[in-house]
């Protein structure tokens, strides 16, 4: 049986005062896109740095393709492409020189792969690094991570700073990499982002893994706050909305209706079909709101049990 792409057992990094990462047990199978979801400061980057052998865990172990992340860190890096949470400074070096410099540490950069990736993201490698916008720096990070076609990609908030078009291109690239046999471990604090790209999602909060969910469970967890404004001569179809599956917390004030939608929007759209809607706004809740909702449900379930 092939070794897991990533395996951690009781992985901990204690920074004191309750900060850090605690007893992370995680398994990412090969050729899977695994999202690591959590709010800022939850321990995502700490986990990733432990996997990259950059920081030593206080306890527990981490293995990549069966290799110990601390003891065998050089061998691990041969199998990994990495986008850091924040791209560093390379001053007056040109993008092409940064690629050559870091590519040489892997025995040389694949010129065709670099050209293809840079062209795909419209990244001009002849410009100096300090002239790059934050989005272009992030694109360079993506080029550096993907250029040697590694079997595992560890990406720390890889879409930070990318515009929607490049984000879409990035997710296409991730899917292509997976289809070519690569495993992808990417962190994010945006639920819709991991939902779009990942097969499974690990949710981390305050340094502890809360849940590992597949896409179905994610759909159950996620919800939207929706505001619907009806035309002056239209009565909001409140009974139909209250009866609609997944539509909750329906409140009406004059012609403005607010509600919460879990899962699919279809029941909501069915309920308002035939009514004249002048405005419809859907807000994705923050991760903190999601967690509060998630824990509220857990508490209710525990009480009812």
């Amino acid at each position: 049986m092939a070794a897991a792409a990533i395996h951690t057992a009781g992985l901990s990094k204690d920074y004191g005062l309750g900060r850090g990462l605690f007893e992370l047990d995680l398994q990412v199978v090969q050729q899977e896109v695994f999202g690591f979801l959590g709010p800022n400061g939850a321990g995502k980057s700490t986990t990733i740095r432990c996997l990259m052998g950059l920081i030593r865990p206080s306890a527990g172990s981490a293995h990549i393709f069966g290799l110990d992340c601390i003891r065998d860190y050089v061998a691990v890096k041969r199998k990994v492409g990495y986008v850091p949470g924040e791209m560093p400074q390379f001053g007056s070096l040109r993008g092409s020189e940064v690629v050559a410099y870091l590519g040489a540490m892997r025995g040389g950069a694949d010129a065709r792969a670099v050209h293809s990736l840079a062209e795909r993201f419209s990244l001009d490698l002849s410009r100096r690094y300090r002239e790059y916008s934050s989005g272009n720096k992030q694109k360079l990070g993506i080029v550096l991570a993907f250029m040697h076609r590694p079997p595992l990609l560890i990406l720390d908030e890889p879409t930070a700073g990318l515009d929607p078009l490049n984000q879409r291109e990035f997710y296409t690239l991730v899917r292509e990499a997976r289809d070519d046999g690569a495993t992808v471990f990417l962190s994010s604090h945006i639920l819709s982002e991991v939902e779009r790209a990942c097969d499974r999602v690990g949710i981390i909060r305050s340094g502890r893994l809360v849940n590992v969910a597949d896409l179905d469970e994610l759909h159950r967890i996620r919800f939207h706050r929706v505001e619907i404004e009806f035309a002056p001569d239209t009565d909001p179809p409140v009974p139909a909305l209250r009866a609609a599956q997944g539509v909750e917390d329906v409140m009406v004030e004059d012609r403005l209706l607010t509600c919460t939608v879990r899962g699919s929007f279809e029941p909501l759209l069915d309920a308002i079909r035939g009514s004249t809607v002048t405005n419809l706004v859907s807000h994705e809740p923050s991760l903190e709101e999601l967690f509060l909702e998630y824990y509220k449900e857990d508490a209710v379930k525990a009480l009812s049990d």
Binding site: L54, K77, V80, A100, L102, L123
Partner: protein, 540 residues
């Protein structure tokens, strides 16, 4: 007020470092005076005459002393003349950072976004630096008062305060000039251009002491106005007009800087040439040097290496010429023999050159090592090391490559300067043993590595404090080596200095014991830093 306090906070390490240095130098020079000047009036007069003759050879750096037979006159010359350079360099670095580096780091946009006006930001920066310079200048004054007290004498506190104010006026003037120049240039070029202009203004004043043709232009130099005050000398005073002129120049130039800042784009100079359009390139660099370990790092810092090699070689050449000018008159002064006996051995030319040039070259190479170590710590703090270590390279290899790059850099600098010195010595008809000159030049490499490996160990353990600690180590080593003979310190205390290990290879040959100790320190430092680097957290 918040921007002013923030500027002070950003400069707190500068205040601590320059303040401590100023205090220590003033204290040691004042206390050292009582060790070398003698105790009777006659002894001091002889000493004063000797110092005046000696100082006449160094007027390209500091003005000739007035009454060096007194502690005030001696410290005015040895410490406060030197402080003009030190505070000028501080002002240059600090203003360069305030004007453009903080802009690149996002500090300036954040302050402006908080509602601070651009002129107010410039005013807060100038005010904060003036405060910082005043603290450091007062520290120098305190060092002087304590040093004089060790000799059982006293010096006017008002005169000391006046000297501090004159020093602050010069520093603020240099700060404002740099601040203004940085508005006109690219972010990277600001400090360099301002440095060249300040150096030009410094030389204009100092060379005007030798070349009469420059006298009518020296009013352009802020250093000229600083030289007008000599309150520490008996009967001396602060030249109020000159000091006010410095403050007035600072005020006018700061206003110009504020106006230039008002009209330029953040991230751009006030005037810039349009960039020609060129098609985008998606290709990796084909320059082969990027593929060769060590060579790629040398290539990456080629401009800095070139400047270091040319600068050190140039100073070596100047030292040869200075040595000839100094030694010939000195040979006729028997009174100086006792003063030099503490430092020099054998042939006076070789000894003097060994003492002057290789003493200075050690300081320069220690500085070179510190700049390279600063680069390592910057790689750590800005995340470059994290990205390097995301590649299949071991941490031990990173440490070794860094030290090898430092060794090769030092070798290039020492080699170029050694050749330049040999050529100039031949041209000046000075008989220097070429074999020993080569040995002395090459010995600078392990000497540099002593600082480099100590720095590597510090950078592996406590990267944020590394530059400060290594600078303090270099300064303490240098001061110990310079003042040990004056204060007649025990041999074991002298031996603690890294500079002592270098010895006087041009005069007495390579000190084998010193070389072995240096190599042992390098080996131990390398092994220790590799071990610490293997175990430390990166990017945490």
């Amino acid at each position: 007020m918040a921007a002013y306090l923030l500027a002070l906070r950003l400069g707190r390490w500068g205040i601590a470092g320059y303040g401590a240095t100023a205090f220590a130098v003033a204290l040691l020079q004042a206390a050292g005076f009582y060790q070398v000047a003698g105790h009777t009036a006659a002894e001091r007069q002889v000493f004063g005459r000797s110092m005046s003759l000696l100082a006449a050879q160094f007027t390209v750096l500091v003005p000739a002393p007035i009454r060096p037979d007194t502690v005030g006159g001696y410290v005015q010359w040895r410490a406060f003349g030197f402080f003009a350079i030190v505070f000028g360099v501080w002002a240059l670095a600090s203003a360069g950072s305030a004007a453009r580096s903080d802009e690149e780091r996002g500090i300036v946009p954040a302050i402006l976004a908080a509602g601070k006006s651009r002129p107010a930001l410039i005013a807060s920066r100038v005010g904060a630096f003036a405060t910082a310079a005043m603290i450091a200048a007062l520290a120098a004054g305190a060092g002087l008062l304590v040093g004089v007290a060790t000799g059982g004498e006293s010096i006017s506190a008002a005169a000391t305060l006046g000297q501090a104010v004159a020093l602050v006026a010069l520093a603020v003037c240099c700060f404002a000039l740099t601040l203004f120049i940085a508005q006109l240039t690219s972010a990277r070029g600001g400090t360099t251009v301002a440095g060249v202009i300040l150096l030009g203004l410094f030389l204009l004043n100092s060379l005007s002491r030798t070349f009469d043709g420059l006298v009518r232009w020296r009013w352009l130099s802020p250093f000229y106005y600083y030289d007008q005050s000599s309150p520490l000398v008996p009967g001396g005073r602060v030249d109020a007009r000159a000091t006010l002129t410095l403050f007035a120049i600072a005020a006018v130039v700061a206003v110009l800087a504020a106006v230039a800042f008002r009209f330029r784009d953040i991230g751009s100079p006030l005037f810039s040439l349009p960039v020609p359009h060129r098609p985008a390139s998606y290709d990796v660099s084909v320059t082969p040097v990027w593929r060769v370990p060590v060579l790629r790092d040398l290539y990456d810092r080629r401009a800095a290496l070139l400047v270091w090699a040319a600068g050190v070689a140039g100073l070596g050449v100047v030292s040869v010429a200075l040595t000839k000018n100094i030694v010939e008159p000195l040979l006729a002064i028997p009174g100086l023999a006792r003063y030099f006996a503490a430092f020099l051995n054998g042939n006076l030319f070789s000894s003097f050159f060994d003492y002057i040039w290789f003493g200075f070259a050690q300081l320069l190479l220690a500085g070179f090592a510190i700049t390279q170590v600063a680069r390592w710590t910057a790689e750590d703090s800005d995340g470059r090391l994290e990205l390097i270590l995301s590649n299949p390279v071991s941490r031990v290899r990173v440490v070794i490559e860094r030290v090898v790059v430092l060794a090769l850099g030092a070798l290039i600098i020492a080699g170029v300067s050694g050749v330049a010195v040999a050529v100039e010595a031949h041209y000046q008809s000075i008989d220097l043993d070429r074999g020993r000159l080569a040995e002395a030049s090459l010995l600078l490499v392990p000497f540099t590595l002593v600082f480099g490996t100590v720095g590597a160990l510090l950078a592996s353990r406590i990267p944020r404090a590394t530059v400060g600690l290594l600078g303090a180590f270099a300064f303490a080593s240098y001061i110990l080596e310079q003042l040990g003979p004056i204060f007649k310190l025990p041999t074991w205390v002298d031996d603690l200095s890294a500079f002592k290990l270098y010895g006087q290879p041009l005069t007495t040959g390579v000190d084998q014991t010193g070389l072995v100790i240096m190599l042992a320190i390098v080996a131990a430092g390398l092994v220790a830093s590799a071990i610490v680097m293997e175990r430390r957290d990166v990017g945490a």
